[in-house]
């Protein structure tokens, strides 16, 4: 037998401690997931209504020029990568980073600049060859609307000043607690519809003013929604990861206990054998 009884006992003890920690983390993640899912679901109608108004505006937008409508020659592509600030959340960050790598390694003539939200993404990309335009590593899983406005304003400014000609966002969609999908979405550029008017809208005070004000908010709304969804997915992913860690800790404890029991029994058998042998020897 390779391991002594004492060694096995100490291994069981440490596995039990690990299990306790992962179990707690699993429960914390579960309660966070519940909370963030509620916030995410509640924010959905706003986003949907914003998209609805956008479609009404776009119907009538022929002849209106706005920087977001321009189809300019793309020289620099911005890639926003949303990751978590903390680890121990299973494949959540790995999936996003793999997808980002795949995007970055596509052959293209344009330069790519990164905008990183989340510490894990920053830790990974700070040593890579792609330039980082902005980073935000302290949202801590709590997206608040004004902070996100600041982030999107930075993006809009970069776009308007020509630092970026296209902005893509890479984030994780939350399908269910067990299934999350990293997705890449075009962010700022809008396609002007060529279709004719469906309804004759009145615009107050006038279309240009509305479009101008609306689009900057629309972008915030999209970003907010993407962040909420990512955070929800992060919590789900962490919960699942911690559950499987707890399960494998339990498995390990079971296996070690079995080994430990065998070792103990072997020791007892040995002792009895010794006594019996000694007794037999005395008799003889």
């Amino acid at each position: 037998m390779a391991e002594t009884l004492r060694e096995l006992k100490s291994r069981i003890r440490s596995a039990k401690k690990t299990q306790q920690i992962t179990k707690t983390m699993q429960m914390v993640a579960a309660s966070r997931l519940k909370k963030s899912e509620v916030i995410f679901r509640k924010s959905k109608p706003y986003n949907e209504k914003m998209e609805l108004i956008l479609s009404h505006l776009m119907e009538s937008s022929q002849g209106i020029s706005h920087p977001f409508f321009e189809s300019r020659e793309v020289k620099t592509v911005g890639l926003v990568i949303i990751t978590s600030d903390r680890g121990l959340c299973g494949g959540y960050n790995t999936n996003i980073i793999n997808k980002a790598e795949a995007f970055l390694k596509e052959p293209r003539s344009q330069a790519v600049k990164l905008i990183l939200i989340g510490k894990k993404g920053y830790d990974y990309f700070k040593r890579r060859e792609w330039p980082i335009l902005f980073k935000h590593i302290d949202l801590a899983g709590k997206p608040d609307y004004s902070r996100i406005s600041n982030i999107t304003n930075e993006l809009i400014e970069a776009y308007l000043s020509g630092t970026l000609d296209e902005v893509n966002v890479l984030y994780t969609t939350f399908v269910s607690a067990l299934s999350n999908q990293p997705v890449l979405k075009k962010f700022l550029n809008l396609q002007q519809e060529k279709a004719g008017l469906k309804s004759d809208f009145i615009f107050e005070p006038d279309l240009e003013t509305i479009i101008d004000e609306f689009l900057s908010r629309q972008v915030v709304s999209r970003m907010y929604s993407a962040l909420l969804e990512s955070f929800t997915a992060e919590n789900a992913s962490r919960m699942v990861a911690m559950k499987s860690a707890t399960d494998s800790a339990k498995e390990m404890i079971d296996r070690l206990s079995l080994k430990g029991n065998k070792a103990r029994q072997a020791a007892i058998t040995n002792e009895i054998l010794e006594i019996v042998t000694a007794g037999e020897a005395m008799k003889a």
Partner: protein
Amino acid sequence: MSEQTFHLTVVTPESIFFEGQIRSVTVPGGGGSFGILANHAPIVSTLLPGRLVLTTIEGKKRVLTIGSGFLDALNNEVTLVTETVTSESDIKSS
């Protein structure tokens, strides 16, 4: 008074604040305050921070204070998006 009603939804990034059939609503529009009744022409308007007065189906008046935002009306479906809303105490119509 007309009994015609229309559907109003007031949404903020945090939640749906109000949803239901109402008789009329007055909003602080970007081009001046205006009222909306049923069968209003399609309109999209900016909203300035200010007070919004709506008349519920029972004829009760409710006053909401809203932040800046947008209003969209099409086919008796009025949508109001704003970043903040708070409700003032409900006022009974006389």
